[in-house]
């Protein structure tokens, strides 16, 4: 068989690619409801919730990335097994795997609902799931290198129209909608910050991405930079949505970001309803999120079970995600579940696991 990977290191990505992957894949469909949650807790001060979320977000990113960087290119399963024993590692890996797959299923269900309500009213939702999962599985099966290269292309495709639309949106916002400022009690702000956590469903992917970095020792800085970029994006979107729609409309609209997109109109553009097009650009990031879930789910599953080819794991994960998406949960139930998952397992992987791993690692080293 011919060597197919001579020049570019096989299964290794650069820090820049890692950052792009993070920005593209960290947000699930929660991105489109983010201003609503912020407005629910802090009305016109919602942007403050987003801002305050970014600060601990940076800390969490630094914690996860800093801990993962300690183990270089060692896989998550390997170092948890080495430090925490095989049974504990198996439990941790299973929880992480289940969280990734289950959240992907819920996000897919939400995505299906959005697409059906805005673009494809008559298409059976299962067909939408199959299209998304089929494409995502194809990307996941190609491996991390191909996914990283794809992300580099997608970020350009998504960013250029988003920037144009962003500028147009910024020109038409009413900043008085954000007045008066600083009127929300700190308790509400804190609760809002905690609830926003589920937006970053993909932060745990960092645990599984680090083994593929070409310079894992510099990964923490790259992760913090990526998180900062994503945070700025999050604040900007919240500010623009609140300023454009007002906090009342933002709070009472299920997907305020999509409403904002639908309201945009670039003067002189050839297309009439540009929102649909922009929505389709956003769909690309959902494809990317789904492919990340399948890739990391398959990687984790394979590394733990140590059997089967990567592609079979990807297909198995895709089937499970599809089954989860088909469970007849309501949207309220889905958001409730995503919240609970974040508050339990999510925070566990953001805060608890790094602390445990750092302590055990230090103890093991001092014992040696």
């Amino acid at each position: 068989m011919l060597n197919n990977n001579m020049l570019s290191a096989n299964e290794r990505i650069t820090l820049r690619q890692f950052q792009i992957l993070f920005v593209l894949e960290a947000f699930g469909t929660g991105f489109v409801v983010m201003p609503r949650i912020a407005a629910e807790y802090a009305a016109q001060d919602g942007w403050l919730v987003a801002l305050l979320f970014v600060l601990p977000g940076l800390l969490f990113a630094a914690m996860v990335a800093g801990t993962a960087a300690l183990f270089g290119n060692e896989h998550f399963e390997a170092y948890t097994r080495r430090l925490l024993s095989a049974p504990v590692s198996a439990i941790v890996c299973f929880i992480l795997w289940a969280k990734i797959i289950f959240c992907a299923g819920l996000e897919l269900k939400l995505f299906g609902e959005i697409v059906r309500s805005l673009l494809l009213g008559h298409t059976p939702v299962i067909a939408i799931y199959i299209v998304v999962l089929g494409v995502a599985a194809f990307a996941a099966a190609k491996g991390i290198e191909a996914r990283a290269r794809l992300a580099e292309v997608l970020i350009v495709i998504i960013a250029i129209p988003m920037i144009i639309l962003g500028v147009v949106a910024l020109l038409n916002i009413d900043l008085t909608n954000l007045m008066p400022v600083f009127v929300t009690p700190p308790k509400n702000l804190a609760r809002g910050v905690i609830r926003l956590g589920f937006i970053f469903t993909g932060l745990e992917f960092m645990w599984l991405a680090f083994p593929y970095l070409n310079k894992p020792q510099n990964g923490r800085r790259a992760a913090v930079q990526a998180m900062a970029f994503a945070g700025v994006l999050m604040i900007l979107i919240t500010v623009v949505t609140l300023a454009k729609l007002g906090f009342y409309n933002t709070r009472n609209t299920e997907w305020p970001v999509l409403k904002l997109i639908d309201m945009l109109n670039v003067p002189g553009a050839l297309l009439a309803r540009q929102g649909a097009l922009i929505l389709s650009f956003w769909m690309l990031s959902v494809f990317a999120f789904a492919s990340a879930s399948l890739f990391y789910g398959a990687t984790l599953g394979k590394s733990k079970v140590k059997r089967g080819k990567h592609i079979w794991w990807v297909i198995a994960c895709a089937i499970i995600v599809c089954i989860v998406a088909m469970i007849p949960f309501s949207r309220v139930q889905i958001y409730w579940m995503l919240d609970r998952i974040f508050l339990t397992f999510g925070l566990g992987f953001w805060v608890g696991l790094p602390i445990i791993l750092i302590i055990v690692n230090k103890l093991r080293r001092s014992a040696k």
Partner: protein
């Protein structure tokens, strides 16, 4: 393929018998046994294949000198080694070689060389005399340029190597020959500059060529299919060119050119999508206009793949995206059409592909008539008959014309296939399907490599060469800014300009 094994016999008649047996019923093989010398003549046997060599050159460099030499000399005891004597004084050419292996001798005869056997010696002299009929150096037809050389490769490997050598007079430019094809024994030459090529790429090219095991190679297209990385991909992973300047430019970038005898197209490896969207004259013109033309090519590539699919998804699933006035006009024009929009596209596209295929095979004189029949009569009639709507004709034509703005024929073929995937998914799922189709193509290309080089380089992984390659991608920056060679080059020799 070994047809005769063993060494040349000292007995001339035995050698003649072997050749006669081998070339039974080969009436194009010319052979003559004749004596050289007055007293105690030495018998020699000359053989070659008619028209595979330059007969006149053989007459004046071998036959005539030998006969003259024989007329002046007689071989008495004082001549210890007649064979060396013939070599040194009896042949008027510098290009000859001693051979003693019959297998090699047969290969040389078949390749157009002449062989001289001498009685009493278990070796023969191969005299270089290839001279096939050929059509000379003609104008390029598949890669036409306005500005730049008109020369194109032809079917003779040595002409083609010379056309490149004429452009790069560097002793480090290597021309490494090998033969591929058990029966055809086709000459294949690898051309590269020793200190510019990446050794791992060169080794891989040589390895893949060595691995080819087929009876015959009749064109470089065979080699292309054997050395490419992914046979499943519709996108080309080897660049074909008929232009010596394009091949020379590739060699100067550290790439390897494969020249195949009997083929006017040479192959360039490795490739990227970017390299397929570059034309030879991009570097002969000033950067402003080239940058605009490059951008147009990219837009054309997007149109070729995506325009029908995008139109279909917008018109069928999301008509609100189209301005109201246009939607109304489209609705009116579609009213008499009895087919679904997707079928309309396939009908029109099938007609377009038929016309294109017919246009390629037809005599040139009839090409214009075909254009009139296809473009005007069929298109117009189809619209008037209510089989297709005018907008579909426009979209299909625009996508078709966009193909012709892409400078590489192989890439056009890939895009033609990709277009149907996007079209079908768009027809089924609107914008979701459109993006799914585009994503499938992008994922496929993101995973594709040509000899280890990512296919989407430098749009992706550009940092591997400090983003230098991006200066010659979507736009072409001024020549003086392109100081570094592309990523394919040997990393120890990346500076092109100081």
């Amino acid at each position: 393929m070994s047809v005769v094994s063993g060494k040349v016999s000292k007995t001339l008649d035995e050698n003649i018998q072997i050749l006669d047996d081998l070339y039974t019923d080969c009436h194009d093989v010319v052979s003559r046994k004749f004596p050289v010398g007055q007293e105690r003549p030495v018998w020699v046997y000359l053989t070659y294949i008619d028209m595979m060599n330059d007969r006149f050159a053989i007459e004046i460099t071998v036959v005539a000198p030998l006969l003259r030499f024989g007329a002046r000399n007689s071989f008495k005891e004082n001549y210890k080694d007649v064979f060396d004597l013939f070599k040194d004084s009896g042949i008027d050419t510098a290009d000859f070689k001693e051979l003693d292996d019959f297998d090699e001798i047969i290969t040389m005869i078949n390749a157009g060389e002449s062989i001289l056997f001498v009685e009493g010696y278990s070796k023969a002299i191969m005299i270089a005399s290839r001279g096939f009929p050929n059509r000379g150096v003609n104008n390029a037809e598949a890669e036409v340029v306005v500005h730049g050389s008109r020369e194109a490769f032809n079917e003779v490997i040595r002409f083609n190597t010379a056309l490149i050598r004429r452009r790069i007079r560097d002793p480090n430019l290597k021309v490494k020959h090998s033969r591929v094809g058990r029966r055809s024994e086709t000459d294949v030459a690898l051309m590269y500059i020793k200190d510019l090529v990446r050794p791992e790429i060169l080794n891989e090219v040589e390895k893949r060529l060595t691995n080819i095991d087929i009876d015959g190679i009749l064109d470089s297209g065979y080699i292309e299919q054997f050395v490419e990385d992914s046979w499943l991909s519709p996108f080309p992973q080897v660049q074909m060119t008929e232009r010596p300047d394009t091949a020379a430019a590739a060699i100067l970038e550290g790439r390897v050119v494969i020249i195949v005898d009997n083929s006017p197209f040479s192959l360039i490896v490795p490739v990227t999508l970017n390299s397929f969207l570059q034309a030879a004259e991009d570097y002969y013109n000033r950067w402003h206009i080239v940058s605009i033309v490059r951008a147009i090519r990219y837009v054309a590539a997007f149109f070729a793949v995506a325009l029908p699919g995008f139109y279909l998804s917008a018109a069928v699933y999301h008509p609100s995206m189209i301005p109201l006035l246009l939607t109304l006009k489209m609705s009116v024009s579609r009213q008499p059409v009895p087919f679904p929009a997707v079928l309309e596209f396939f009908l029109m596209d099938a007609a377009f592909e038929l016309l294109r295929e017919a246009g390629i095979r037809m005599p040139r004189a009839a090409g214009g008539a075909l254009g009139v029949v296809g473009g005007l009569i069929i298109g117009q009639s189809a619209v008037q008959a209510g089989l297709v709507s005018p907008i579909v004709v426009i979209i299909v034509a625009l996508a078709g014309v966009s193909n012709f703005a892409i400078p590489n024929v192989s890439l056009i073929a890939g895009f033609r296939i990709a277009k149907y995937l996007v079209l079908l998914l768009s027809a089924a799922f609107g914008l979701l399907g459109f993006w799914a189709g585009i994503l499938i193509l992008l994922i496929h290309m993101a995973g594709l490599k040509s000899f280890g080089i990512p296919y989407l380089f430098p749009y992706t992984s550009a940092e591997l060469n400090d983003y230098s390659d991006t200066k010659d991608s979507f736009f072409r920056m001024p020549l003086f800014t392109l100081k570094k060679r592309p990523f394919y080059s040997n990393p120890n020799n990346l500076t092109r300009m100081k």
